[in-house]
Symmetry: C3
Subunit: 109 residues, 3 copies
Amino acid sequence: MKLLVAVVQDKDSNRLSNALVEANFQATKLASTGGFLKAGSTTFLIGVEDEQVDEVKKVIQENCKTREQLVAPVSPMGGNADSYVPYPVEVQVGGATVFQLNVEEFEKY
Amino acid sequence: MKLLVAVVQDKDSNRLSNALVEANFQATKLASTGGFLKAGSTTFLIGVEDEQVDEVKKVIQENCKTREQLVAPVSPMGGNADSYVPYPVEVQVGGATVFQLNVEEFEKY
Amino acid sequence: MKLLVAVVQDKDSNRLSNALVEANFQATKLASTGGFLKAGSTTFLIGVEDEQVDEVKKVIQENCKTREQLVAPVSPMGGNADSYVPYPVEVQVGGATVFQLNVEEFEKY
Ligand code: NI
Ligand code: NI
Ligand code: NI
């Protein structure tokens, strides 16, 4: 058995939770107060059988991977209107960091 | 040395904390925002010498294991009184999930 | 790669965060609700390449190690003025507990 420690952005946290439940994986969410990632983060502890590790990682990747997002332009407040670009801007969001640990023993009471 | 990661129900959390302190084990509690278990959960990190692993697990089991609890019947509010069963009902509470990880090195500063 | 789980006192938490960022190490902070240490604690998850483990531990030690702190005397409130010692008193603060875990696989998405 393996324990995956996955640090993801808060904005992807609920989506990942739902996807894990749907795929029948059990996870515990820990409130992170900082992170590998610049924005607020959530840490997932996911216990998984060896033969399902790849499947869980695929679920994490599909729901959290780094991608670009279009952000609407903000009109300049008292700024120089000449330098104002009225186009949406692409910013990078998401991303996940996953550590795979070996579980020596696993018990349920 | 081993690191036990134990996810338990919130309602058993204080009792487990006290039992660990009494048995002279050192633990850190992490606030979980979801869990392996349906109700709110707390995650314990417990560092323990190899020869004491069984003892710690026994403490966890004794204080957190799944058990049935009698719940007083709730009288029906605007429901069909014909289907109302005035007996206490047994519900399952508690339970713990424990992952045992190997600690390569342990330091105290 | 290794995952260091470091439990430190809340009062050293920000200093350690800043020192880790400065030294270019990536860490996630988890809110602990109890701890190995008597005061409030913060748990750091620090992913690190094998050859940098010693460096990270040095950063933790330098910023969190147990030390004595002078505390100003508090004048007795309605107490026996005869037993009042008007000297600063040394108390022990800080301290860190570090578990080193082996990371089998590490992924970033
Ligand atoms: Ni296994
Ligand atoms: Ni050992
Ligand atoms: Ni390695």
